[in-house]
């Protein structure tokens, strides 16, 4: 059950020490949970205070500092405050990252791949091969590029489980599925045919068939269904499934999506209050993630959490009382190999990203203008994967 604000207050007041992300694993041991915030969050509601500037000023908002992080505090967002109070030393915030588009579909692609073409996204590139579900897409976007053999989609209604179990199909209408022994014979025949055929397609098909055999052997019986007890996903159940998959060595990357409080969305061209409600819900969900991780200390040492949204929002209100799209956004990293308690970059008084010294993370004239490619290079570096087209943000990484 999701904790209420009163319960959160009580827990903190009673001196409960929430589990901390540990950071001891090597690059190839790390696993990555991407929590994609769909629709364009407004960093000025939490991450990048623009108080006292000409930007829109939220009534009741003040600055609050927790360790290295100065955030926007508001009485309506207690979960945000408590999360920073308890985890400031775990959190790396990257500010002023420019995603050079103002349309959602293009920005999502840019955020996750660093490019506008058909490149594979960061989680797919990090996922590697040799496990049953290298990049498990529980919910949210995926850009497989030319590596679709690494991607396992669950489907909106858990079609994956049903396909694995052979339950999908008109078998209740008088047809009989083939016996397992016969399936095995056919599998072997088809795989041999693919391995004997020439060309890249055949080679990839053979690889997919081998992957499928592993998937069927290891993932059969897993239930990915989110029961949705309320108006949104059952995130605690998702976290258990995800962490089980990580611990079992079945996945290296997982994609999950946050669609706002009660799935009301983050794209607040109108009804700006939605940003506040959504951030509170998001950080409540991160507390739930922490709860799920609490009983898995070994996994906590290996887990990297990435929370990011495809765009930010304009510093000023539009004519309808909302905020339109803005190319600068923030990202939050936590976990294994991440330098907690660090702040990378920042905004100027007008909400524009400032260039950054990648070594120190401090804003710097003549430094680097941050983009998603730097975030991607940082993640690839954390995962020990070569091939980033940009320099990683070294200041975001532990020594």
């Amino acid at each position: 059950m999701r904790p209420t604000r009163r319960q959160l207050l009580g827990a903190v007041g009673a001196g409960l020490v929430l589990p901390q992300f540990a950071r001891a694993a090597s690059a190839d041991e790390r696993v990555f949970l991407f929590f994609y915030v769909e629709g364009g969050w407004d960093p000025a509601f939490v991450f990048t205070p623009l108080l006292g500037t000409s930007a829109y000023q939220e009534s009741g908002a003040t600055e609050a500092t927790f360790g290295a992080h100065t955030i926007v505090d508001h009485p309506d967002r207690l979960a945000v405050r408590f999360f920073f109070e308890n985890h400031t030393d775990d959190i790396c915030l990257i500010h002023g990252m420019e995603v050079p588009s103002i349309t959602h579909e293009r920005c999502v692609r840019l955020l996750l791949t660093g490019a506008t073409g058909g490149a594979a996204d960061w989680p797919t590139r990090l996922a590697g091969t040799g496990v049953a579900m290298p990049h498990l897409v529980l919910d949210g976007p995926v850009f497989p590029g030319d590596l679709p053999e690494r991607v396992v989609r669950v489907g909106d209604q858990n079609q994956l489980s049903r396909l694995l179990e052979g339950q999908l199909g008109p078998y209740d209408e008088g047809l009989t599925p083939p016996p397992q022994d016969v399936q095995a014979l056919v599998d072997a025949h088809v795989r041999a045919r693919a391995e004997a055929a020439s060309g890249e397609h055949a080679s990839r098909y053979a690889s997919s068939l081998a992957g499928l055999e592993r998937l069927q052997a290891e993932a059969a019986g897993l239930d990915f269904a989110s029961q949705s007890p309320g108006c949104t996903r059952d995130f605690p159940a998702d976290f258990e499934v995800i962490f089980d998959a990580f611990e079992a060595g079945m996945s290296r990357c997982v994609m999950l999506r946050h669609q706002g409080w009660c799935n009301q969305g983050w794209d607040t061209h109108q009804l700006l209050q939605g940003q506040s409600d959504n951030f509170e819900d998001l950080f409540n969900t991160l507390f739930q993630l922490q709860d799920a991780l609490n009983s898995r200390p070994a996994l906590a040492e290996r887990l990297v959490l990435i929370v990011a949204s495809e765009m930010g929002r304009h510093p000023k209100l539009n004519a309808w009382g909302g905020k339109d799209h803005w190319t600068w956004t923030s990202a939050m990293l936590m976990g294994s190999g991440v330098r907690g308690g660090s702040v990378i970059g920042g905004l100027d008084d007008q909400g524009r990203g400032r260039s950054v010294d990648l070594m120190t993370g401090e804003t710097s004239e003549g430094g680097t203008a941050l983009g998603p490619e730097h975030l991607g290079a940082t993640l690839l570096s954390l995962g020990g994967v070569e091939g980033g087209d940009a320099a990683p943000i070294l200041a975001a990484l532990e020594d």
Partner: protein
């Protein structure tokens, strides 16, 4: 098991991807692309004997009803209108849950059906944006202000129809189906719609242009930036005047069925007020949607885009600069045929790129129509065609396009696609009793399903598979062979 694998390996018959396909395999590709079904054994025999006959079949199959039906699914890969959710939903029309899928496909296919009918009737591509009618099925006739203008429906119950709400007629530009997919908001003011039209019909994607606010004055009123800021103007100077021509479709009340279903002539001139511009197409003043359609037909990108879009669809890859000589010849052929698509497709299929042996992945809509044709299998669940939908179906898992989260077909095999194809092959095999698949000679079966004569080693491997499966269950021998052939690399590619 080891023996089986050795035999199966020996059956491999590699073909260099850079060479041209042999005639029977080419015929198989053409048949799948035009009809969504495999060629018959007789048709394969005919082109094996005389490869020149391939062109005859192209001409023949372009005239089939299956071509029009197949084209609808193919267009969906680019137009992205066959989505699983719209701003107005089936409940708004008091429909039952089992009617949801039919409702969504009816709405999303309206523009695609119109385009496919224009192509099937061999009319000019210009009519896509100038036709004085749309196409509607009974669902749309029941819920939208439409009247049929044809005595007898054809093509799956779709009939020519006209809107009765006094909207102008400009082909797809005045269809509810297109604008429900590409909806707008109070503040967006049709701009996204212009971007969609530009991407689909002109191959010019506004959204692909990089945007930076770095040089922009954030203190400027955002409402006026699109009119005044040079960086914004690079897109908005052409986008906003075109958006102004669509103000009759602008919605001021969101999620309202009457608001979305009906045209609003009283709003036609509101562009000047809310967008700050009068309707124009790249500087040429226009009136409403009818003028917009005509202006698009005069845009040199329109016909060139039709050629490259068709090439991309049938080549199953994005054209590159290296393709320019072939594309140039195709553009000439298209112009010489009064911009009719059928001659363009025929010319495409004569071309080197189409005939190259590099394999293309069978998209889910082809898999669906092939197994329907072979064994009569219609894989549905609660009225949903499982290979054609996503919330409960497997369209994206099978490598297809949902038009929303996934906008390009998968071009390489992947895990979930392979799993879906395995399950469909098993279903088809289980459904094959009393069909020609069950009774055909083994060598003929391979010839039919793969468009390639099997080697003796391949037949031995299949024989061995049949025997081994029969030993487990006498009923499973032939089913195992059929499932194996339907999952073979030679079947899942074309």
């Amino acid at each position: 098991m080891t023996l089986l694998i050795l035999w199966a390996c020996a059956g491999g018959e590699p073909q260099d991807d850079s060479t041209a396909l042999e005639a029977p395999r080419l015929l198989r590709r053409i048949s799948l692309d035009l009809r969504g079904t495999l060629p018959s054994v007789d048709e394969l025999d005919a082109v094996e004997k005389d490869p020149e006959r391939v062109s005859e079949y192209v001409d023949l199959w372009l005239e089939t009803e299956a071509f029009e039906e197949n084209l609808v699914a193919r267009l969906g890969e680019r137009w992205h209108t066959r989505v699983d959710v719209f701003p107005v939903e089936y409940q708004d029309y008091a429909m039952a849950p089992e009617e949801e899928y039919g409702f969504e496909r009816s709405v999303g296919e309206e523009p695609l059906r119109l385009v496919a009918r224009i192509v099937a009737e061999d009319r000019s591509w210009d009519e896509v944006v100038t036709a004085d009618h749309t196409l509607a099925n009974q669902t749309l006739l029941d819920i939208w202000p439409l009247e049929s203008v044809s005595d007898s429906p054809s093509g799956g119950g779709w009939t020519k129809a006209r809107y009765t709400d006094h909207r102008p007629a400009a082909g797809v530009l005045t269809t509810n189906g297109l604008w429900w997919r590409y909806d707008t908001t109070v503040s967006n003011l049709n701009r996204g719609r212009v971007a969609a039209v530009s991407r689909i019909l002109l191959c010019d994607d506004y959204l692909a242009r990089p945007v930076s606010f770095a040089a922009r004055d954030p203190d400027a009123d955002p409402s006026y930036a699109v009119l005044e800021d040079p960086a914004c103007q690079s897109c908005h100077a052409s986008m906003d005047p075109a958006a102004a021509a669509l103000m009759g479709f602008w919605w001021v009340v969101l999620y309202s069925e009457p608001e979305f279903a009906n045209y609003h002539p009283e709003r036609e001139r509101l562009g000047e007020t809310y967008l700050g511009v009068t309707p124009a197409w790249h500087g040429e003043p226009i009136g409403g949607p009818e003028d917009l359609g005509l202006a698009i037909t005069r845009d040199p990108r329109f016909h060139a885009c039709a050629v490259s879009a068709m090439a991309e669809s049938y080549w199953r890859r994005t054209p590159s600069w290296d393709d320019e000589p072939e594309l140039s010849a195709l553009r000439d052929a298209f112009g010489g045929a009064d911009h009719r698509i059928k001659p363009l497709i025929a010319a495409l299929m004569e071309g080197e790129s189409y005939r190259q042996a590099d394999p293309r992945l069978m998209p889910p809509f082809q898999l669906e129509s092939v197994v329907r044709d072979l064994v009569g299998l219609e894989w549905t669940e609660d009225g949903v065609r499982m290979l054609d939908a996503d919330p409960s179906g497997v369209r994206v898992l099978a490598g297809g396009v949902d038009g929303d989260a996934v906008v390009t077909p998968q071009s390489q095999p992947g895990l979930t696609r392979t799993l879906v194809f395995k399950r469909v092959a098993e279903m088809a095999a289980a459904s094959a009793s009393d069909t020609d698949l069950e009774s055909a000679e083994l060598s003929e079966l391979v010839w039919w399903l793969h468009g390639r004569r099997p080697t003796s080693e391949e037949l031995e491997a299949l024989d061995a598979l049949e025997s081994a499966a029969s030993a487990i269950d006498p009923q499973e021998g032939r089913a195992a062979v059929i499932a194996a052939l339907l999952r073979d690399p030679a079947f899942v590619t074309y």
